[in-house]
Symmetry: none
Subunit: 417 residues, 2 copies
């Protein structure tokens, strides 16, 4: 099946918005064995949209259109598709009810423009949008399919996952690829590739596909079987080999998150956690709390950004700060140890570092971070050297701290690379 | 002048790489008054490339091609363009010398494949690439122009800035567009459109372009003058009208962020800030701290996620929690008021809500959030009803709290919609 994407929106052409929708769709489709042959980005103009659809239908069986479904005047996709498919708008009652419910649940009045979003082409199948007011539309037309989706990423993704992919799987015999992914933290892509090169040669010789998917602080490793699920056990065995060798780097599989894994470890061991944060400024706590049900183990945190509050809230010894500096092993260990008592938790993480871009010195440059952890067994600290970018340094610190607590609780020797 | 982009590369279609080149070119071109009418992303295949160029020449005067100029076998753009323009490759001596110098300066051996990168089409103008080995190519063809550039972003940008834009400025009388953007928080796109419909009619009648650019919790409004900067004052006047009417929604312009604006307001007024957070779990503090130099005003926070810590750390009266519940006006006001003292700050924000997806009741459903703020003047609280999604509820709470503190400090009546 040949599929292409038409992305509609001036904001994409003038570069105010990056077309992440197309890349997300490309990723998800390639996991399903669907090949995207072209992405066309055009302006919100009726004739351009029609021409692009015409051209797309000459090349492809399925055309995914994103954007131009909002309630404002510059959103014309719906009207254009009505003309193109020679149909007309009518109120779609279930959509109207859904929009009404959407506004009632948010306790906000519904406007005329919102009601008009329930006016949808007669000839299409409506695809529910649970995250917004612009419904998706599925047109069958002379053996081809056109699917129109809102441009807001989480609305588009919701409709793709809940409505489009299940229908495509049911309608077409998709050549089933089988993928499995393991997730690593604490080692860069090139180091990882070097350390697992023998394993990589093995899996490639066996005809499995291997992809490194790096993101800041993490590398995903994806194995693909082109013969579908029949090789799933083999893939599991290959991954088990890696997990045995690198338990400190490999924290999970598939869609797991590091904070989710840490949460499960804490639940399993009946432990509570808290944080005492300086450079991460609450980002670590926020990441822990982003997991639904975090209240089962997360109690709270002290964000001691100023040195004064390190003393006042976390009882860090002023002399220690003066002697070793706020970014030091001694200070993060006091923060972690005192945090356990003050927050009444079993495990406490502490962070202190130079997030940058200002505040670096020769001795303590931007990117230098200390992370401390205190449990009933012991209190330790580790030093890291991240980069120049403030947000990335904070993010790297958060991920590293989460992996550190995972290793510490599970008795895995933590290594850094 | 009508311009379009052809981006070549499988990695773009399967979503492994996001097409940031197209958005960068779009941004830079729109600043020069060059309109990008289409972006087409295709695979590294000869026939597809030729077809895409054919189509692009029917619509546009200038075609920018990125990608497919690397030294490996799957990079075929150069050969394809040779066929398309009916020319042949020859060694381009200045490029060969540049490549040699490039390898010498990096102390790396030059390979055959690198030498072949100096083989370039006879009929084109060569555009120097100072950041890599793949030269750019400028083809004049039947009154149209095709420019081929490497896909590596910093190489492409270098050639665009140093070679392409100066030539385009010299060759064409470029009509400069002028854009200005204002940023709103606390009102949805459709409400905003309704409230400013008279103003919108005005600006459109005057021939200005208006775009709504929504993102979670925020809507950007962009005005465009097609006659360049000459209408900048007029645009400022139009925006001033809006700012006067909606000072509570409009927090900034252009590339500003809400946390950056709040930081500047705090600096201007010589105020310090802290937070006492329940449902946001540190996300509010993290957002404040994401601004470089936040240590000038941010002191720290108490993350009192458990009810026990609301009492123990923030001195919230146990009876108040039992009587009104943790998600209540009374509790967030105590949290904010006590936080001011405990953190020693001028302004304290407090949050308590049902982030979801669990924990909702009929009386206090998922998405219900109380935000409190305490200053030397007063302590108040506001109730909000966000949606079903945990991460979004946290994000909406953070943005709303930041806008609330901006309004409170600036003496703007906060309204919610």
């Amino acid at each position: 099946m040949r599929v292409e994407i038409i992305s509609i929106g001036d904001e994409l052409l003038i570069g105010q918005t990056i077309n992440t929708n197309a890349s997300w769709i490309g990723q998800e489709c390639s996991l399903l064995g669907i090949r995207i042959v072209q992405v066309t980005t055009i302006s919100d103009e009726k004739e351009l949209i029609k021409d692009a659809v015409d051209m797309a239908f000459t090349r492809s069986d399925l055309v995914l259109v994103t954007g131009g479904l909002g309630p404002t005047k510059d959103d014309i996709t719906k009207h254009t598709l009505c003309e193109y498919f020679n149909t007309e708008l009518e109120i779609h009652i279930p959509t109207l009810e859904r929009i009404e419910a959407f506004f009632i649940s948010r306790n906000r009045p519904m406007l005329d423009v919102n009601i008009r979003q329930a006016e949808l082409p007669k000839s299409c199948t409506i695809l529910d949008n649970r995250n917004g007011t612009a419904a998706g539309m599925w047109f069958d037309y002379e053996g081809k399919i056109l699917i129109s989706l809102p441009g807001v990423p989480y609305e588009m993704k919701g409709i793709m996952i809940e409505e489009v992919f299940p229908r495509l799987k049911a309608k077409f015999k998709l050549k089933a690829l089988y993928h499995k992914t393991i997730l690593t933290q604490g080692i860069g892509e090139s180091f990882l590739a070097e350390q697992i090169s023998d394993w990589e040669n093995d899996v490639r010789e066996q005809g499995l596909g291997l992809a490194y998917l790096p993101s800041p602080g993490m590398v995903k490793l994806r194995l693909t079987s082109y013969e579908g699920e029949s090789r799933s056990e083999e893939i599991d065995r290959y991954f088990d080999q890696l997990i045995k060798r690198f338990p400190h780097y490999i924290f999970g599989t598939g869609d797991e998150t590091l904070q989710g894994v840490v949460g499960q470890v804490l639940r399993d061991k009946h432990l509570t956690i808290g944080t005492v944060e300086s450079c991460t400024g609450g980002a670590l706590a926020h990441q822990i709390v982003s997991v639904s049900g975090a209240s089962n183990y997360f109690q709270g945190s002290l964000i001691t950004y100023s040195n004064e509050l390190k003393g006042k809230l976390a009882n860090v010894d002023e002399k220690i700060i003066d002697g070793f500096g706020a970014v030091s092993s001694e200070v993060v260990e006091q923060m972690a140890r005192n945090g356990r008592d003050l927050l009444g938790v079993d495990v406490c993480l502490a962070t202190s570092g130079v997030a940058g871009p200002e505040g670096g010195t020769n001795e303590k440059p931007v990117g230098l971070v200390w992370i401390g952890i205190s449990t009933s067994d012991r209190t330790i600290s580790k030093c890291f050297r991240f980069g120049d970018n403030r947000e990335r340094n904070i993010q790297m610190t958060v991920l590293t701290a989460l992996n550190l607590v995972r290793c510490e609780i599970l008795g895995i020797l933590f290594e850094k690379k």
